[in-house]
Symmetry: C2
Subunit: 251 residues, 2 copies
């Protein structure tokens, strides 16, 4: 929050990419991209807590203090990597969902879930940065991270909302009454995202959201024992099917 303003000094930064007018800016952008690329590798290899600016500098073939010309501190590099990972996950989810016909709502949901799991298993450390325990002392600047960080949930509620509009949503009996305070929250979400679904569906959607990431996190973080589940694909498919039912998406 406070960071967001501090990061846009008055008169500087055009928010959009500066299109690299001078060769200096070109070289600078290239170097920052290299730093992010190397940081991504270290992040994927050793995890977020072990991300070291000095190590990145070594790989860059430069002394440690030189990196500070391009990145203010370790937290800023972490933010860059956070956005980088959110975007990669968002792209993967978008591609998977878009490959399914628009009117196959259940199919789109299943592919969304599979895409999240697939990316998480491929990039466990980066997934951990996004959805694991927060890095101590690091607070993600909301201004830069909320947008890419909400792509998956936006996509999910978008699918549910489209199904609702198409009249393809099976209404579960479920606990009918939604308390007033929660109902106010849901109303705010509904207006902000331009949704039509009633409280019950929206609340269930939130549960499906957290449950999807709960299942993925358990698998990625090794919460299942080493040998408790060997058929993890099938377990996840079962979970997805049940969650589709909770969301009202019958295939």
């Amino acid at each position: 929050m406070q960071h967001a303003e501090a990061m846009t000094p008055p008169g500087a930064s055009t928010e959009t990419i500066p299109s690299q007018r001078t060769p200096r800016e070109r070289a600078r952008a290239r170097t920052i991209a290299d730093i992010v690329r190397l940081g991504r590798t270290h992040l994927a290899t050793d995890g977020a807590a072990a991300l070291s600016l000095r190590a990145v500098a070594r790989d860059l073939g430069v002394v440690s203090s030189a990196v500070y010309r391009y990145v203010a501190n370790r937290d800023e590099l972490l933010t860059l990597l956070l956005v980088d990972a959110y975007d990669e996950l968002g792209d993967a989810v978008d591609a998977a969902v878009d490959a399914v016909p628009e009117d196959d709502f259940a199919g789109r949901f299943l592919e969304l879930g599979r895409a999240v799991r697939k990316w998480a298993l491929k990039e466990p450390a980066r997934y951990g940065l996004l959805f694991g325990s927060p890095v101590p002392g690091y607070q993600a600047p909301a201004g830069q991270t909320t947008m890419p960080g909400t792509r998956v949930i936006f996509r999910l509620v978008g699918i549910i909302n489209s199904a609702w509009r198409a009249g393809a949503l099976a209404q579960e009996p479920g606990p009918a009454v939604v308390p007033s305070a929660l109902s106010a929250d849901l109303a705010a979400i509904r207006t902000e995202l331009g949704l039509d679904v009633p409280d019950e569906v929206l609340a269930n959607g939130a549960l499906v959201w957290t449950s999807l990431f709960g299942a993925v996190s358990f698998e990625v973080f090794g919460q299942y024992g080493a040998d408790t589940f060997s058929a993890r694909d099938e377990l996840f498919e079962h979970h997805l099917a049940v969650l589709a039912g909770v969301a009202g998406l019958r295939s």
Copy 2:
């Protein structure tokens, strides 16, 4: 795994607590308990990655190298704190569940969920150590952590199994067929834990398990936006009610 053997030097340690025969052992146990206590404070304050043996030594009023007389390394202290936290969570869950009549299966499940959430919100950093992204380079020794680490899930499937035995489990329609490989996993779990529930119920129980911790993790780790949900108690209660339905526990 490998650690487990290295931690029981031949001829030493009786595995059970040595009951502190000599005053030396008494003093030693007291010091270790102090280290764990101080470590717990640091863990709760600054998170797992920021846990520092030197800081613990300072608080203990002793030079840094002295703590290595009691704890082999940082990872071993982390293991002690891991077990410590698992046990505290397990105790909290046990107390909450035991406060509900044995035949109120849905009520027991709800209290289990509430206890997990309550403890997690009270101890976010320690919860993060248990269920967040794994600490890089640290592998929990299974021999010491699996037992306390499985108390909650054992308790959960115990409730479901008791309800099944009592004929109080509402069978949901759900996706009927459970694939063969997953069925084999579930059979192994069933025999190991002495359960009677069919595949479908057990698989749904696994989903309820991961979903419960998914919902708690989202809240503890701040995955909900800062101001998206203000009525989080009610949201969680709604989730619990739906999950009780998934488990077949109708109240």
